[in-house]
Amino acid sequence: MPEAKKIQTRNSFRGMGIKSKDIKGILPKILKRLFKEYGLAMTIILLCLVVSAVAGITGPIFLQRITDEVIEPTLKGQIALVEWQAKLTSLIVLMVCIYSICLLATTVQTQILARVGQRFLNKIRKSLFNKMQSLPISYFDSHPHGEVMSYYTNDVDAIRQFVTQSLIQFISTFLSLTFIICLMIHYSLWLTLLVFIGATLMLLVTKKVGGGSTKYFIQNQKTTAKVEGYIEEMMHGQKVVKVFCYEDESKLKFNELNDELCHAATKANQYGNTLMPILHNIGNVFFVLLAIVGCFLAINNVPNLGVLITNRNNQFVFIGMNTLTIGIIVAFLNMSRQFSQSIGQVSQQVAMVAMALAGAKRVFDFLDEKSEEDNGYVTLVYAIKDENGNIVESPTRTGIWAWKHPHSDGTLTYTELKGDIVLDHVDFGYVPEKIVLHDVSIYARPGQKIAFVGATGAGKTTITNLINRFYDIQDGKIRYDGININKIKKDDLRRSLGIVLQDTNLFTGTVMENIRYGRLDATDEEVYKAAKIANAYDFITRLPEGFNTMLTGDGANLSQGQRQLLSIARAAIADAPVMILDEATSSIDTRTEALVQKGTDQLMKGRTVFVIAHRLSTVQNSDAIMVLDHGRIIERGTHESLIEQKGVYYQLYTGAFELE
């Protein structure tokens, strides 16, 4: 399985750089979670592990007994035919029983574990998803998307590996090693000592050789990444390569990188490939040595030391067990094989475990992140005007909304949603120390169109992000229909604001689903209507499958203009009384541009609108234009008054000054 192998090398590579402080305390946390949520299942698993570990050492015991109690005496003529037959049969029957129990235990354990492990993962994934929905927007500003993504993919995967494989392997290896060591000590202290020396040597060599190869593995990994990056670039940049006749140079550069990789890989390979034979053969050398020393002791009738736990006071007592029998040697040979195998398995897993724990730490840290807070209590409700002109709550959609405002004295007031937005001396910074908006005041009366103009980074988008409370202001007040927006429930606040983002952000799904995204309970008819308002209807019906056309990769199969129109349709269906329009910067052809323009004009009718304009042509008919510079409003007024002022706006308009 080359892929698995690749992942494994990559994993072990990742595991190497992990320091112990990164993963401290994570293991108990995982175990606690596992036992808390799946206590019964985990107990059964542990029991099964003990059973199979015990069964594991019955093999050597069986060998010892069959040699010493059946074969030897019979050969020496010490017991009768009937007796040895009975003994042999009973031993074999016993073993078959034990092995069957062992099979049952392992099957039960693996099946339960598979379920527990998967359920645990599923739960982690779901809590990750849930967390993501509740984190404040600022979290996503300070963490690259790729990083957040890696929690879902790499880290969760590492945890899976750990829970379903490494953890159990560790426990079972630990158990069987304990039992094997006990049995070894029971049989012979001398030989046990020998096995221990062997194991220590094995570990030392692994550490030595493994440490030396790390360097080459890292280098190998780095060059691999380089080569892959280069290939990727060449594949995507074919056009430019061809146009500039760059083929030969590409080949040359590729050969160079590939050479480097081949070299690094060969080095790593030579190091890595000596490690395994060495490890394997140390095991072998000790196997042989064990046989020889054992035989030697047996021949010379050297008194053997074994340990038995006596019934009296449960004390360890040294007992001389006559001489070493052949049965014991045979059992030891068998056990030393198990011993070195177990150690080999564990040492292979170490890097993987370190990686899993580091991944788990990142995941848990993510889950511990502070969620977005919402102390709002003013909610948005459907409303209707009674005969006296008073606002009354209505159970169905009426076209009128009202803010339902409970007061501390227990009374309720309803305020009609009109779309009157006031920013009153607002200061804001993404971090408290660095204020990016200074003393911004804006008054938007219902139905007015307010435009923001200014260079990239002047703070245009930031202002709109304050209105929908993606971020909270540092100082000043924002009022919505006279209500401080801090008092409004965030969901309801956002529902009352329609938004067209600069990046169109389409989802994988049909065109229909993408438009309906604006209001999930909209009927098909309403979707069609919204598409018509946004001027998108014509092009959608001309798509191969009309409204059912699947969009993939952020609408890669549509043109920029078409994506823009869909995003407008999505805002149109939301039918919110206040609109925020972040105009697209990238160019679209003039005809589409006119279409988009027409769509937005339709959408703006009768609503309070905030426009972030990149083309001055769009803002001329605004009720007020705010010219922003470095987080301050430096000019404000209508198009005509600003032209008269002959300030920055005038310069922009006449082209003497550039926006970008």
Binding site: L88, Y99, T164, E232, M235, Q238, F507, E593, K598
Partner: protein, 580 residues
């Protein structure tokens, strides 16, 4: 096995290394078999109480020699095999990339870059892996099984038969289960990547989700996907986890039979204790390969597809091939299209229909028209990106374009594409990609002329700033200006701007157009644009619609015609905000 033809050259070249590795593999197996025999012998001698110091000593030396020999052989084998693998991987990749670079543009419309990427990396990896590690793995396993079986039979035939009865079950279980498990794992991977994509969208679109208060909906979508992953994964893991216990059970039973029946044979004096020990050690070596055999057989089947995928690319032939005596060309007088018709390969829709046009050296040409009218397709003909359908309909200086070397034609043209492809290196290197020996344009001058100078001030390390995927993200306008600088430095007889001024504002556009007049004096410029101000000054402007020229002339002539050009011009003059 037919597939191995694709790497025949390699095996032929390095056959002796393959042969040597095979010999070493056999040596290792031999050592593995010899060791239990010596141990058995020793045990027998001790059991009979006949052992002398010197016999024991010689056995010790023999054992140590075997262990050491095996040690050395193993290291040698893994180094040889590793080198065979890495060298093959390396050479396949080089062949792969070489052939990729030879392909026509057309090839990249049929094969997605992502797909080619996988072929270039993981498929070549698995191809090299199969041809070295896997094939030797298989050979070793088969030889181990055969040689061990022979040694066991030599000890006692019936004992061998009885004790290996449970082992084929391992093989059968693996062979039956493996494909199912693999198929299911593939499904798992697919579900995982679907979930990954969904999660990616949620992260990228987080603002939109919040703005439309669709958090719950989004969570439900993700949860559903996670649940699907859970279900398929669980199935896979459950299937997989039956392996271990089954394997252990059958090996244990097999050992049990060996000891039980072996004890019986010993008592009947048909076998010695030492022989039984030898036998059981051999048996322990026998069951592992049984399982590996099953694994390796199914891995072989799986890797076959990688072989096919790589071979397909290696065997691809470009369609545009130069004639044996293709002409050189480095200057031109006229390029003529006569009744030129073109449709993209494997499609029937004609993009250019009976098209007539003459491009004269030193004159500038503006091309305008609606999206989809064939402007870019026309440009692509000049870049010789597709096979010409009718040889005589496109001529340069009186000869069909196919008479000339294709690299020469491409050298004739300097091109600024619509999408701006930057490579992950410094700004300077990106621009210098365009420079060749014949170019007389200096770096600074090209930058200045492309109006890119002002952007440099904003870049942290100026010209040395790394851009592209791993570097600084440039704005659309900056990318366009950089692309233009790259094209200007090439200083080719023809410069093509394919809608390359769309992301720059009016002032910058005017600057660049003005600069072009200076730097491209007496050279040919072809400008494709949506904004008509970009082509206003051209010597000739053509308006395209549905693959035909519907209007042609100078700006003034077209304005007088009062057709599409006039209409657009008026709309754009009014600032684009005018209602239709």
């Amino acid at each position: 096995m037919k597939r191995f033809k694709a790497i025949q050259w390699y095996i032929q070249k390095y056959w002796w290394q393959y042969a040597l590795t095979l010999v070493l593999s056999i040596g290792i197996i031999y050592c593995d078999i010899k060791k239990p025999e010596i141990i058995g012998e020793a045990v027998d001698l001790i059991g009979l109480g006949q052992i002398k110091e010197e016999t024991l000593f010689s056995l010790l030396i023999l054992l140590t020699t075997i262990v050491l020999t095996k040690f050395i052989i193993s290291i040698g084998k893994s180094i040889f095999l590793g080198n065979l693998f890495h060298r093959l991987f390396y050479q396949i990749k080089i062949r792969f990339m070489k052939n990729i670079l030879l392909q026509d543009a057309d090839y990249f419309t049929i094969y997605h870059p992502g797909d080619l990427m996988t072929r270039a990396t993981s498929d070549t990896f698995s191809m090299a892996n199969v041809s070295t590690h896997l094939i030797f793995g298989l050979i070793t396993v088969i030889l181990t099984i055969i040689m061990t079986a022979v040694s066991m039979i030599k000890l006692n035939l019936t004992l061998t038969i009885y004790s290996i009865i449970p082992l084929p079950f391992i093989f059968i279980v693996v062979v039956i289960m493996r494909p199912k498990i693999s198929a299911n794992w593939r499904l798992v991977r697919k579900k995982n990547s679907t979930m990954g994509n969904l999660a990616m969208e949620s992260v990228q679109h987080v603002k939109l989700i919040r703005a439309f208060v669709n958090e719950k909906e989004d969570y439900k979508k993700l949860e559903g996907s996670a649940q699907e992953c859970y279900d398929t994964e669980k199935k896979s893991v459950l299937m997989q986890s039956t392996f271990g216990p089954t394997f252990r059970f059958f090996t244990n039973i097999s050992q049990l039979i060996a000891y039980g029946y072996g004890a019986y044979l010993i008592i009947n004096q048909e076998l010695t204790v030492g022989e039984l020990i030898t036998f059981s050690l051999l048996l322990a070596q026998f069951s592992g390969p049984m399982m590996q055999l099953g694994n390796q057989v199914s891995q072989f089947a799986q890797s076959a597809i990688s072989f096919d995928r790589v071979t397909e690319v290696l065997e691809a032939k470009p369609e545009i091939i130069d004639y044996p005596n293709a002409k050189d060309i480095n200057q031109f007088h006229t390029i003529e299209f006569f009744d030129y018709t073109f449709s993209y390969p494997k499609t029937r829709l004609e993009i250019l229909k009976g098209f007539d046009l003459t491009i004269t050296s030193g004159k500038s040409l503006g091309i305008v028209g609606k999206t989809g009218s064939g402007k870019t397709t026309l440009i692509r003909q000049l870049l010789r990106r597709f096979p010409i359908q009718n040889g005589n309909s496109l001529k340069i200086d009186g000869y069909p374009i196919s008479y000339y070397k294709k690299t020469d034609i491409r050298k004739l043209v300097s091109y600024v594409p619509q999408e701006h492809l930057l490579f992950a290196r410094s700004v300077k290197e990106n621009i210098l990609m365009g420079k060749n020996e014949e170019s007389n344009v200096e770096l600074e001058y090209a930058i200045q002329m492309a109006d890119f100078e002002k952007d440099l001030a904003f870049l942290e390390n100026g010209l040395d700033t790394i851009v592209g995927e791993y570097g600084v993200t440039l704005s659309g306008g900056q990318k366009q200006r950089l692309s233009i600088a790259r094209a200007l430095i090439k200083d080719a007889p023809i410069l093509i701007l394919d809608d390359s001024l769309s992301a720059v504002d009016g002032t910058t556009e005017a600057n660049i157009i003005k600069n072009l007049k200076e730097i491209r004096k007496n050279k040919t410029n072809i400008i494709v644009a949506h904004r008509l101000t970009a082509v206003e000054d051209c010597d000739e402007i053509i308006v395209m619609e549905n693959g035909k020229i519907v209007e042609r002339g100078t700006h003034q002539e077209l304005m007088d015609q009062k057709g599409w050009y006039y209409e657009q011009y008026v709309i754009q003059e009014m600032g684009g905000s005018a209602h239709e």
